[in-house]
């Protein structure tokens, strides 16, 4: 049986609202997903019932926080099939996770290592590398991606072969937030591992939408945010192979990262994941992250993925039918190879920002316009006014997708 979208929608209070007497069509989930009541309840329960630090005080509130904080890590580890909950590091978001992941390269110990990324990378998986390159700390190789978003394994192999063995990190978008294309992660992992490199995936757009098995994918580092997966804001995680995390320097040091300190120079760092989680943590966020994966698992990631394929197919086919050559949809032609989002080039006929403003006003359709934090890719492809990007999730219906397409057609009729 498929996903019961009407039942799912009852879990999301934001969808029960009306704006100007009309329902809301939320099509901005690639930026921020809506939250189910189960996640909201977990957040509220922490603040109303047992607010305390984990692992520090011996009272009942603290014990409950510790237990639920640990459980959330275990739930997430099971959800992505990590071997060990200690391979999950809580961070604020994908950006922080990717920054932390790059420390696995141990730049200073091994000399000048190489980071490989692609031209469609989100700024979270690009800006830091460009900065390090400009400071002379790394070699940076950016593999150019076509507008179809299709990953060229041969070209990637050639780049990898030019890197120093054992001294490079391939940090790649698992699913692109502009081309909607997925990369062949298992083949890429083999290519990277043959030369003893490290594979890091920016999973911001994959983790919320498809079943994940980090062991099967043979990925070394896997970075994602909870806010795109119906979870709390300001929470994300880095999965890392335990042996790799053991060798990795923390981004931030301080309380909770050490077992002991002696003057003048002696600090003893704790084991992963604790050494990476400095200072008082976002306990409510972590516990609600546990509730998030519990919620997604209860709906079923296979069902979510199938439902999104239906939405993607509907959108791509209807857009082609109604608007044809007036627009260009970035990414793979085949809807089956896409995530349920589309960056649409309006070919200079209408400004995508104005379309987004009109969509909100005309039909309460909430979506994103512009560069979607992939400025470099848009500039490289001469998409200088940006693109219009609807993105769908488990709570969206085929009817909503149809309304989006009809409204875009209507705006074209008015303005273009």
């Amino acid at each position: 049986m498929g996903l019961d979208v009407n039942k799912v929608r009852t879990d999301f209070p934001a969808l029960h609202q009306l704006k100007d007497g009309k329902p809301i069509i939320y099509a901005d989930s690639a930026c921020m997903a809506l939250k189910p009541q189960q996640v909201i309840d977990a957040l509220v329960a922490y603040y109303t019932e047992y607010t305390a630090c984990a692992g520090r005080s011996p009272h009942a509130f603290s014990l409950k926080t510790t237990r639920l904080y640990d459980d959330a890590r275990k739930d997430l580890a099971r959800f992505i099939n990590a071997k060990n909950p200690a391979e999950i590091v809580w961070v604020r978001n994908t950006t922080e996770a990717l920054n932390l992941g790059s420390h696995c390269l141990s730049l200073e110990e091994n000399g000048k290592g190489t980071i490989i990324t692609t031209s469609e990378s989100h700024n979270s998986n690009l800006v830091k590398w460009v900065r390090l390159h400009n400071l002379g700390k790394i070699e940076l190789k950016i593999m150019e991606m076509p507008l179809t978003g299709m990953f060229n394994l041969e070209e990637f192999t050639e780049i990898v072969e030019k890197c120093e063995e054992g001294n490079f990190l391939a940090s790649l978008n698992h699913t692109s937030n502009v081309t909607a294309a997925h990369i062949p992660e298992t083949e890429i992992a083999q290519i990277v591992h043959e030369r003893d490199g490290i594979l890091q995936l920016d999973a911001a757009q994959s983790f919320p939408h498809r079943p994940i098995d980090v062991q099967k994918m043979e990925v070394d580092l896997f970075a994602a945010s909870m806010h795109k997966a119906c979870g709390p804001t300001g929470m994300g995680f880095l999965y890392g192979r335990y042996d790799l995390l053991e060798k990795t320097e923390p981004l931030i040091l301080g309380g909770e990262t050490v077992s002991d300190v002696h003057y003048p120079h002696d600090i003893k760092l704790l084991s992963p994941p604790t050494k990476f989680e400095a200072g008082l943590q976002n306990y409510a966020g972590a516990i609600a992250s546990g509730a998030t994966v519990e919620y997604l698992a209860s709906v079923g990631m296979d069902k979510i993925q199938s439902h999104e394929k239906l939405l993607s197919r509907t959108m791509i086919n209807n857009l082609r039918e109604t608007l044809g050559n007036k627009i260009h949809i970035l990414g793979p032609e085949n809807p089956e190879q896409r995530a349920a989002l589309a960056a649409i080039d309006l070919k200079g006929q209408i400004n995508p920002h104005e379309v987004a403003i009109l969509m909100d006003e005309m039909k309460n359709i909430f979506l994103r316009s512009g560069f979607h934090c992939t400025h470099a890719f848009h500039h490289e492809k001469h998409l200088d006014v940006g693109t219009l990007r609807p993105s769908w999730y488990l709570y969206n219906t085929v009817e909503e997708v149809n309304i989006f397409v009809e409204t875009l057609q209507e705006i074209f009729d008015i303005m273009a």
Binding site: N351, H353, E354, A356, I357, L358, G370, F371, G386, M415
Partner: protein, 95 residues
């Protein structure tokens, strides 16, 4: 730019605090200034003008600022079929 502001908080207790002017505030101010000079402009024209003045802001934030200023009634908009665009203007410039 660092400003020292003195203003009462909601408990009517005078508070002095240090506040750096946020980039979004600067963007809003710039849009209002530009519309004062240009009388009316499309989103594309405003973004181009802001960029030519060297605004240190992601251009994606300008439309959000326009929508917010419109919501606050500080600017208004009409759809121009001729220009195939939204025309933004200050309420006093309308007509």
């Amino acid at each position: 730019m660092i400003l020292w502001l003195e203003r009462p908080n909601k408990f009517n207790v005078p508070t002095v605090f240090k506040m750096s002017m946020k980039d979004q505030d600067k963007t809003n101010t710039l849009i209002l200034e530009l519309l004062k000079d240009m009388k009316e402009a499309t989103t594309t024209e405003l973004i181009k003008e802001a960029e030519s003045l060297g605004i240190n802001e992601c251009s994606d934030r300008i439309p959000a600022a326009l929508a917010e200023l419109n919501f606050q009634g500080l600017i208004t908009k009409i759809i121009s079929r001729e220009k195939k665009a939204i025309i933004w203007t200050l309420p006093e410039n309308k007509n």
